[in-house]
């Protein structure tokens, strides 16, 4: 039963990795930019809802709607002003600058604003599905928020996977990142795809932050940590395959829980990253790292 509970705990943390990994890899697929601010959108969603609901006593649906509206407008404007100038403007940026810099700066910016607005304490959005943990087969305990988190991960990951595999729009989205000029020649509006996916993943992250925050709690600095874990799982999908990023996220979560439970609670993470590093060194191609590095 210990094994079962560990796997359940692992699936929950794995889902968190998986969702951010999917968001990172889908947008990288379109734009060849790594979105390091994806976790900050989650933080902004969770703390924004908490602030409006708990401090300003708004009704919960209104708090959620208002927070998401702010995220949408902000992401849209960021794409319109900064990313459009960086990628399409007369002084186009390329290489490492565009890959990291712009969303990294965005991450710091959101953190700074969040610190002013929400303070430095740990908060969480109210749980969306109230009640004690569910008990299955007399000894398996499942948190309700954990069920929601896993469901979110599976829905988001498989939706993108299906979109890419079975629709021409999804293939056009891939083409944008594969060869922007070639995509435009086929009549694909690369700018529109980039904007839609950027705003879309920001909203997904914010919604997920709201759902997930009752489990971990958020401070204004949580975003960067979450982005990083998603980033690692996304790397296992070569930053390009949301389906694989989903599975990698879940697998890393389970592995982490098992190592923490059976090997060492203190050194579990160290062992985990040693294993992940060994996998990358041993089978870079199978892990999709080759394409990620060479772009």
């Amino acid at each position: 039963m210990k094994l079962g509970n560990l796997i359940i705990a692992g699936l929950t943390t794995g889902s968190i990795y998986a969702v951010f990994a999917v968001c990172v890899s889908v947008w990288y697929r379109v734009s060849n930019i790594l979105n390091l601010a994806v976790g900050d959108f989650a933080m902004a969603g969770a703390l924004g809802v908490d602030n409006l609901y708990r401090v300003k006593s708004w009704p919960l649906p209104a708090a959620i709607a208002a927070t998401l509206a702010v995220v949408i407008v902000f992401a849209y404007l960021y794409d319109l002003v900064v990313l459009r100038l960086a990628q399409d403007g007369p002084r186009r940026q390329e290489g490492i600058v565009i890959t990291f810099f712009f969303t990294f700066a965005l991450s710091f910016f959101i953190d700074g604003v969040a610190k002013i607005l929400f303070g430095t304490d740990v908060h969480a959005a109210p749980a969306l599905w109230n009640g004690g943990s569910l008990t299955v087969a007399s000894s398996l305990h499942i948190e309700r928020a954990g069920v929601l988190v896993l469901a979110c991960a599976l829905i988001i990951g498989s939706a993108f996977w299906l979109y890419i595999r079975y629709t021409l729009g999804g293939k056009a989205m891939e083409a944008c990142g594969e060869n922007p000029l070639g995509a435009r020649i086929a009549g694909i509006d690369t700018r529109r795809y980039r904007r839609h996916i950027f705003v879309g993943t920001a909203v997904i992250a914010a919604v997920f932050g709201i759902v997930e925050s009752p489990i971990t709690g958020f401070t204004y600095l949580s975003g960067a940590t979450i982005s990083l874990t998603g980033f690692i799982a996304a790397a296992y999908g070569g930053f390009r395959k949301p389906g694989r990023a989903l599975l990698a996220g879940l697998a890393i979560g389970i592995l982490e829980a098992l190592l923490g439970g059976y090997v060492s609670a203190e050194y579990g993470d160290t062992v985990l990253y040693a294993i992940l590093a060994a996998l990358v060194l041993g089978w870079p191609r199978a892990m999709g790292f080759e394409s990620a590095v060479s772009g």
């Binding site: 021409l168 729009g169 891939e174 594969e178 000029l181 020649i185 086929a186």
Partner: protein, 251 residues
């Protein structure tokens, strides 16, 4: 400079577009040339690549655009297709093309097969070709069952075994074939091919030209850009020369 407007088009452009394709070109007067370019200029900053180009191509013609490298052939073509900013007027079958709108041009029948192919290396050859259909449909099933897609696939039967392969792993000649197939899948009335034989072996180049001749015989207006006009003129009945960014029309 007056636009040259030949009286008798060789063979009319194939009528009928794939289901759902909104092509207003059909409503134009029959006398309208397939492509009319008037006063077109393309500049990169201060560097003028094409200066005040005026010429026209009749429906059904096969036209070679020739001239030394770096003299503005590709810029001319990209400007016409709407890939780079241009000044001047471009008409496709009598309809004025908005500047910078590649999709509009593709939907009205002008498709570019660009220099260096510009494929999507990580996608399969089949997906590359299928994305040619993107300008007229967003449905994968309609694209797969369409006539233009079928025509494209049948153009190079020797490639059938490799269609599932990633485009980036194909040989240069095969990639050029895929690029032409992608162009054909957009159901073009005018197909503009930029340096189709760059870096290809002689036998492959001949195969590519045979396919281009086949496309032209089926009624598509053809524009071929070549540095060396010799091969292009085997299938083209018209030549437009570009020198130092200036177009010299030689009927």
């Amino acid at each position: 400079m007056n636009p040259v407007n030949p009286a008798a088009p060789g063979s009319p452009a194939a009528p009928g577009s794939p289901a759902g394709s909104a092509t207003r070109a059909g409503s134009a007067t029959p006398a309208a040339p397939a492509l009319a370019v008037r006063g077109l200029s393309v500049a990169y900053g201060d560097m003028v690549a094409v200066h005040d180009a005026t010429f026209s191509i009749a429906a059904g013609e096969a036209c070679a655009i020739t001239g030394p490298n770096g003299n503005g052939k590709s810029s001319l073509l990209m400007g016409i297709a709407g890939l780079i900013r241009r000044r001047g007027r471009v008409e496709i079958f009598g309809a004025v093309a908005p500047s910078g709108d590649v999709r509009w041009a593709a939907r009205h029948g002008l498709t570019l097969v660009p220099e260096r192919r510009q494929l999507y290396p990580g996608l399969s050859a089949l997906d590359n070709i299928m994305l040619g259909c993107y300008c007229w449909t967003s449905s994968l099933r309609r694209a797969r069952n369409s006539r233009p897609f079928g025509t494209a696939i049948d153009l190079f039967p020797e490639l059938k075994g490799q269609l599932r392969q990633q485009a980036g792993t194909l040989s240069g000649g095969q990639q050029q074939m895929v690029a032409i197939m992608r162009g054909l899948a957009s159901d073009p009335k005018i197909l503009a091919v930029d340096e189709p034989c760059l870096g290809l072996a002689e036998a492959v180049a001949r195969r590519v030209y045979a396919a281009l001749a086949e496309i032209h015989e089926a009624g598509t207006t053809l524009i071929v850009v070549e540095e060396a006009p010799k091969r292009a003129l085997t299938i083209c009945n018209r030549r437009v020369e570009v020198r130092n960014g200036v177009v010299l029309d030689t009927p």
